[in-house]
Amino acid sequence: MLEFFASNYALNLLILICIYVILSVSLNLIIGYSGMLNLGHAAFFGIGAYASALLALAGYPYWICFIAAVFFAGLGGAMIAYPSLKLRGDYLAIATLGFGEIARAVMKNWVSLTRGPLGLPGIPKISFFGLTLTTKFQFFIFALIIAILVVLFVSKIVKSPFGRVLRAIREDEIAAQAIGKNIKKYKVIVVITGAACAGIAGSLFAHHITFIDPTTFTLMETILIVCMVVLGGVASIRGSVIGATILVLLPEPLRFLGLPTSMAAALRVMIYAALLILLMIYKPNGIFGEWRFRHAKSKEAL
């Protein structure tokens, strides 16, 4: 069995799990703990990936690429900070969805910078202080450490007094303002932090797959991350980690069901979608969920 874990196939999945854990935990910080329904997470994932890849291809050492990924993704977060303050619930979801699509259109059409649909091949391996991550196993260890750090960072935020205020804002913005909390400042910080973490995941993704193009950072990618958060349980860090793990692994066993070749791919998507629907009907709060995302401030959920 151990030989299986060393195989690149398993390591590839483990690395993807680390990347998607970072994405789902950071999105949960925005959706679960601060009540801001953000459907633009893949855009920050993409900005981080492109920033890191472009600088790496230009020969910069990895730690500069990493910081650039975090910085530019955070900058992206700052851009949607304004709508995040002004809009609530569905409207915020729609606005961030729009932002995500515009970001992807820029990635696809700003050919001089991103080579557009041709993408960026040959992204160099990660190396810092003379150590180069050549094998997939080394990369996995690096990704695991980063993932654990991000999860600790986010759970620290959530358990700290800062996090307590976040949950208060999620519960009732009016009451939070009345007791002297500057909700604008808190929301902006959360949106930028969440986006910056997505940038980290972007950097890891770029150097792992070594080729990125706009087709990866679509609305469906954000939806996948939202599903991980909802499946795992809104406002539960453990939930997001488990949600990410399940949804990365879910399609894999379907490959081995020996479906008739002509229908295999389509059937796989159908089974995946059916499982998603059933999970939502029978476990709408997600596995660890304890907070249900209600409509703006109407007392009962509609």
Binding site: S7, P117, V151
Partner: protein, 378 residues
């Protein structure tokens, strides 16, 4: 905080074991009578599925034929198709699975250049041959020794058409292309060559690959009144453009790469394709092997593949793999060395020679559409 960390890692590992448990271990087993597996990576769902399906069935047809004819020295051949979705993440997942679990030594695919470019380093590292029947992106040429392709790099196609159009006396030309890797690649090469020759690109329009309404782009081209149009679409959107051009009374001489050298385009666009000049590797559907392939394809699957030349290429790639294996070259490295020796292989996709960095040299010919049929030009 400490116990939380332990809990989290234990959970992570247990989910992993559960998630991957059902994978049966498949030893390579040269001697045993197990079938030899070859992989296939291509877009079977998502936007590019209409073409992926035809390419997979082309490869499937070849595998079935080889097996009916006795397989590889008695051992059956098995195609393991995986869905690449034209996306790097899914293509790498598929490649890792094929290489690690199915222990394939050769893979047919990827189709979209994004798939091939993502899988290339993995295949190179695992010393597994990756031969793409359809990725024309120029970057693939230097992407590795184990990386081949059965279609010419777009460098050739773009240049030939630029030269031809220049010689025909066109100086002010428009380009219209779908906003994806194959099309942008060809557009770059074409415009570089055409401007080098002294021509001028007066207007350029692109569109999302799944777009249906290109009327405004066509109106913009009509407004710039170019002498000719170099159109770089996929067959589906190409058909719509030809139709909409006719509807909008825009009769410009149209030039296109092999993606338009497809019978279905002629049928679906009515007479709108009349007079179109297409550059394509020697793939005339009348050639014996090609016609036979199309006939067998239709008998077996009951439809005509969208991008016929690429389905034929997939068919040829499987046969090339089979020829190598028949001569005892089983491992990826052996197949690789054999492939470099392939010259003037006449397959369903026309005559093919593989050059030193794994690209296919195929003579490119020009054809024109005359009363609903592709006819050879000079």
């Amino acid at each position: 905080m400490k116990n939380y960390m332990i809990l989290m890692s234990i959970l992570l590992i247990t989910i992993l074991v559960v998630g991957c448990a059902p994978t049966e271990m498949q030893p390579a087993g040269e001697e045993t009578k197990e079938p030899i597996k070859i992989g296939f990576i291509g877009p079977l769902t998502g936007d590019v599925a209409p073409y992926g399906e035809g390419w997979r069935d082309g490869a499937l047809l070849a595998v079935e034929e080889i097996n009916t004819a006795g397989g590889i020295n008695g051992r059956m051949l098995e195609l393991v198709p995986e869905d690449g979705l034209c996306k790097p993440k899914d293509a790498t997942n598929a490649a890792q699975k094929l290489i690690e679990i199915d222990k394939v030594q050769a893979i047919v695919g990827g189709f979209c250049s994004s798939e091939t470019l993502a899988v290339a380093p993995i295949a190179e590292e695992a010393k597994v041959v990756l031969m793409s029947p359809g990725s024309t992106n120029a970057d693939i040429t230097e992407s590795g020794d184990y990386i081949f392709r059965a279609c010419p790099s777009d460098a050739l196609q773009g240049e030939i058409m630029a030269i031809y159009m220049y010689d025909e006396g066109y100086r002010e030309v428009a380009i219209m292309y779908a906003n994806s890797d194959y099309n942008l690649g060809l557009r770059n090469v074409f415009s570089k060559k055409f401007t080098e020759l002294g021509g001028e690109i007066v207007v350029e329009q692109n569109y999302e690959q799944d777009a249906k309404d290109m009327r405004t782009q066509i109106t913009k081209i009509k407004d710039a009144a170019p002498e000719a149009l170099y159109l770089v679409p996929y067959p589906a959107d190409g058909t719509i453009i030809l139709v909409q051009m006719k509807e909008l009374d825009v009769d410009l001489p149209v030039f296109a790469p092999e993606s338009m050298c497809v019978d279905k385009v002629l049928v679906d666009s009515g007479e709108a394709a009349e007079g179109m000049v297409v550059s394509t590797p020697t793939f005339d559907e009348a050639a014996p092997k090609t016609a036979e392939f199309l006939q067998k394809f239709n008998d077996r699957f009951g439809y005509k593949p969208e991008l016929t030349s690429y389905s034929a290429n997939a068919y040829d790639v499987v046969y090339l793999f089979a020829d190598a294996m028949k001569q005892g070259h089983i491992t990826g490295t052996e197949i690789k060395d054999y492939l470099y020796t392939v010259t003037d292989y006449t397959g369903a996709g026309g005559k093919l020679t593989i050059d030193e960095n794994g690209d296919a040299i195929k003579e490119l010919i020009l054809m024109r559409v005359e009363n609903g049929e592709f006819v050879d030009l000079e």
